[in-house]
C-alpha cells in the first residue's frame, strides 16, 4: 500500500470519528468497502453502462457498418416504426406464449418433481444428481440434440412417434415445431426449479407436518395447506430467476428451427438477431433490445424487493 492510500485511509477514519456526515466523506474519500468495490464496478460499468448508452444512441440512428462505423441520426423513426409493425407484435405475442408455456411448465413439473424427491427415502441424492444433468448442457447442444432426436428420418423420438401413429415431420409443422422447442426448454430447465423447490421443502418444519398428521389431514390437504404455502417464497425466487433467463436465451430456437417454420417460433430475441445480423438494421434491432431490457428490469426490480425482506426464504 503506498503512502497516499494510507493517508486516504487515515483521512477516512478521521472523518468518521469526527462525526462528519457519511455522505460527504464517502464522496471525498471512499472507505475500505468502496475501494474494494472500485475495480469490479469500473469493469462492470465498462461492459454494461457503455453498451447501454450505445444501444440507446443506436435506437435513434441508422447504423452504417461498411466504409467505417457511423451512426446517422434518424430521430424517432425506429421507434415509430415499431408501432406499425405487425411482425414485431407477433414476435412479442409468441414470446409471451413461449414464456408462459416454458416457465409455467417448468414451475409445475419442477415443483411436482421436488415433492417426489422429497418423499424419497433412499437414493435421493443419486436421483437428484441425475435429474440435474440437463442444466449443465450448453443450450446450443440441447437444441442440436433435440433436432437429432426429432429428425423425421432417423430421430429416436420421431421413430417413437411413428410407433404411436404420428408420421409427420415435427420440425416442419408450425404447431409441433413450437411444441418441440418448448419441450426442449422444459427438458433443460425443469431440473433448476426442482432443485430450488427441494431446498425450500427441506426447510418445512416437521413439527407442523406431524401436527397435521395428528389432526388427520390427508396427503393432498397437507400439500395444499401446509407444504405449498410454506415453500411459496422459494418458488417465487425460482420463478423470478427462471423468468429472467427465459428472456435471455434464444440458443435453442436459433439452432433448431431458426424461427421457422413460417415464423412460428420467431420470438423477440430471434427477431432481434435476424434484424441485426441478417438484415444489418442495428437501429431497429436496438429498439427491440431496449424493450426486452425494460421487461427484464421490471423482473429484476421485483427480485431485489423480494430479497430486501429476506427472512421468509431463509
Amino acid at each position: 500500500m503506498d503512502s497516499s492510500v494510507t493517508d486516504a485511509v487515515r483521512g477516512a477514519d478521521r472523518a468518521d470519528r469526527s462525526g462528519q456526515p457519511a455522505r460527504r466523506s464517502r464522496i471525498a474519500l471512499p472507505g475500505f468497502a468502496g475501494r474494494m468495490m472500485a475495480p469490479g464496478l469500473l469493469v462492470l460499468a465498462a461492459v454494461s453502462l457503455l453498451p447501454f448508452a450505445a444501444v440507446v444512441a443506436m435506437s435513434f440512428s441508422r447504423v452504417h457498418l461498411l466504409g467505417g462505423l457511423r451512426l446517422e441520426s434518424v430521430g424517432a423513426a425506429n421507434w415509430t416504426r415499431l408501432f406499425g409493425d405487425p411482425d414485431t407484435a407477433w414476435a412479442w405475442a409468441r414470446t409471451a406464449g413461449y414464456f408462459v408455456l416454458t416457465v409455467g411448465g417448468e414451475m409445475a413439473l419442477g415443483t411436482a418433481l421436488a415433492i417426489c424427491l422429497w418423499r424419497l427415502r433412499s437414493a435421493r441424492n443419486a436421483a437428484l444428481s441425475l435429474l440435474l444433468l440437463p442444466m449443465f448442457v450448453a443450450p446450443v447442444i440441447a437444441g442440436l440434440l433435440g433436432r437429432f432426436l426429432t429428425d423425421s428420418t432417423f430421430g429416436l423420438y420421431a421413430w417413437l412417434l411413428r410407433q404411436v401413429g404420428y408420421h409427420g415431420d415435427v420440425m416442419a409443422d408450425k404447431t409441433t415445431a413450437f411444441a418441440a422447442v418448448t419441450l426442449m426448454d422444459v427438458w433443460e430447465w425443469t431440473p433448476l426449479i426442482a432443485l430450488i423447490a427441494l431446498a425450500g421443502l427441506s426447510s418445512v418444519p416437521s413439527a407442523v407436518l406431524e401436527a397435521a398428521a395428528l389432526d388427520g389431514a390427508g396427503l393432498l390437504r397437507t400439500l395444499r395447506h401446509i407444504v405449498l404455502p410454506s415453500i411459496a417464497p422459494v418458488l417465487l425466487v425460482a420463478l423470478l430467476i427462471r423468468s429472467m433467463d427465459a428472456l435471455r436465451y434464444f440458443d435453442i430456437i436459433w439452432n433448431t428451427t431458426g424461427g421457422g417454420p413460417a415464423d412460428a417460433t420467431k420470438t423477440a430475441s430471434v427477431e432481434l438477431y435476424e434484424t441485426a445480423f441478417r438484415f444489418f438494421d442495428f437501429g431497429y434491432a436496438s429498439v427491440t433490445g431496449l424493450l426486452m431490457l425494460a421487461v427484464t428490469t421490471v423482473v429484476a426490480r421485483y427480485f431485489v424487493r423480494l430479497l430486501e425482506r429476506k427472512e421468509p426464504t431463509r
Partner: protein
C-alpha cells in the same frame, strides 16, 4: 426422523409411494434418454448413427472422436479457445467479484440499494440486447475475433453474477470476526485476506464453477464476437450444421465433449448449487 413421528408425507400409503417412484422413473427416463442417446450415437459407426430404426447393438468405435481430434476438422483450437475464454473470464469474475462482493456486503453507503439493483439488472439483461452494442463497440476498438474481447464480453454477465453471489456468501460471515482480527492488529485488507476469504472458500469455488459453466456454454456472444481465430466449441458444434447435411456422428461427439466436463464440475459443487443458482436468495441444506 423416526417412523413413529413421521407425518403423512413421510409415512405415505403404499399407493402414494409407488406413485412417487413411477413419477421419478418417468422423469429419469425423460431426462437421461437424450443424453444417453447422444453418447451412444457418438460411439456408433457413421452408417448406424442415422439408421432409420434405432439400433442398440453395434460395434462401438471411437472414429468420430479420432476425427475430431486428429482429422481435417481439428477441434483443438476450438477447445483451447473455449478453455481460455471461459477460464479467464471465470477467474477474473471471481477475483473482482470477491473484492467487490465483500465491499458490497460490508458497505453502509446510502446508495447500496441502487447499486445492488444496478448489478443484478446487468446480470439479467437479455443477451441479444447486450451483444448488439458490444459488437459495435468491439468493432470500433478492434476487439472482434480476439480472446481478450470474448473474455471481456463474458464478464458482462459473469462479473455481476460473481459480485452478487459472493456478497451473499460474505454477508453470512459475522462482521465481529473481522473486528476482532482488527483488534488483534490486522489491517482491513489482512482481515479480509486471512480471516474472511478462507471462510468463504466454498463460495469462491461455487462462483468460479458457475461462471465457468455460463461462459463455456455461451453461444450468442461467441456467434457474434468471435472470428476464425477465436471460435469456441459451441460454435464448432453449430457449424457442423451445413446446407449439404449434418455429420451427426461428429456432432454427437462434440456434444459429449462440450457437455461432460460441465456436468462433472457442476455436480462437484452440488451442495452449494442452490445458493449459487439463486444468487444467494435460497440456501440449501
Amino acid at each position: 426422523m423416526t417412523a413413529a413421528t413421521a407425518g403423512p408425507l413421510e409415512r405415505g400409503t403404499r399407493t402414494s409411494r409407488t406413485l412417487v417412484r413411477v413419477v421419478l422413473a418417468l422423469a429419469l427416463i425423460w431426462t437421461l434418454v437424450p443424453l444417453g442417446w447422444m453418447l451412444l450415437s457418438s460411439l456408433k459407426p457413421t452408417a448406424e448413427v442415422t439408421a432409420s430404426t434405432p439400433d442398440l447393438w453395434f460395434a462401438p468405435t471411437l472414429e468420430h472422436y479420432r476425427n475430431l481430434f486428429g482429422g481435417a476438422n481439428n477441434l483443438w483450437p476450438y477447445l483451447s479457445n473455449s478453455v481460455i475464454a471461459a477460464g479467464a473470464s471465470a477467474l477474473l469474475a471471481t477475483a473482482l467479484g470477491a473484492l467487490a462482493g465483500y465491499g458490497l456486503a460490508r458497505t453502509r453507503a446510502r446508495g447500496k440499494k441502487h447499486l445492488s439493483f444496478w448489478i443484478i439488472s446487468t446480470r439479467m439483461a437479455p443477451i441479444a440486447a447486450v451483444v448488439l452494442p458490444i459488437f459495435l463497440i468491439f468493432r470500433f476498438l478492434g476487439l472482434i475475433d480476439t480472446l481478450p474481447g470474448l473474455v471481456l464480453a463474458y464478464l458482462s454477465f459473469n462479473l455481476p453474477f460473481a459480485i452478487w453471489l459472493l456478497s451473499a456468501f460474505f454477508a453470512e460471515v459475522p462482521a465481529s470476526l473481522e473486528e476482532s482480527a482488527q483488534v488483534a492488529g490486522c489491517t482491513n485488507w489482512q482481515a479480509f485476506r486471512y480471516v474472511v476469504l478462507p471462510l468463504t472458500r466454498p463460495g469462491l469455488v461455487t462462483t468460479f464453477v458457475l461462471c465457468l459453466v455460463f461462459a463455456w456454454n455461451d453461444y450468442a456472444f461467441a456467434l457474434v464476437l468471435s472470428g476464425p481465430h477465436t471460435q469456441t466449441l459451441p460454435i464448432a458444434a453449430s457449424q457442423l450444421v451445413t446446407q449439404t447435411g449434418i455429420d451427426w456422428g461428429q456432432l454427437t461427439a462434440i456434444g459429449t465433449v462440450v457437455v461432460v466436463p460441465m456436468m462433472l464440475v457442476g455436480l462437484a459443487v452440488r451442495r452449494w448449487l442452490v445458493t449459487g443458482l439463486t444468487m444467494g436468495a435460497v440456501t440449501g441444506e
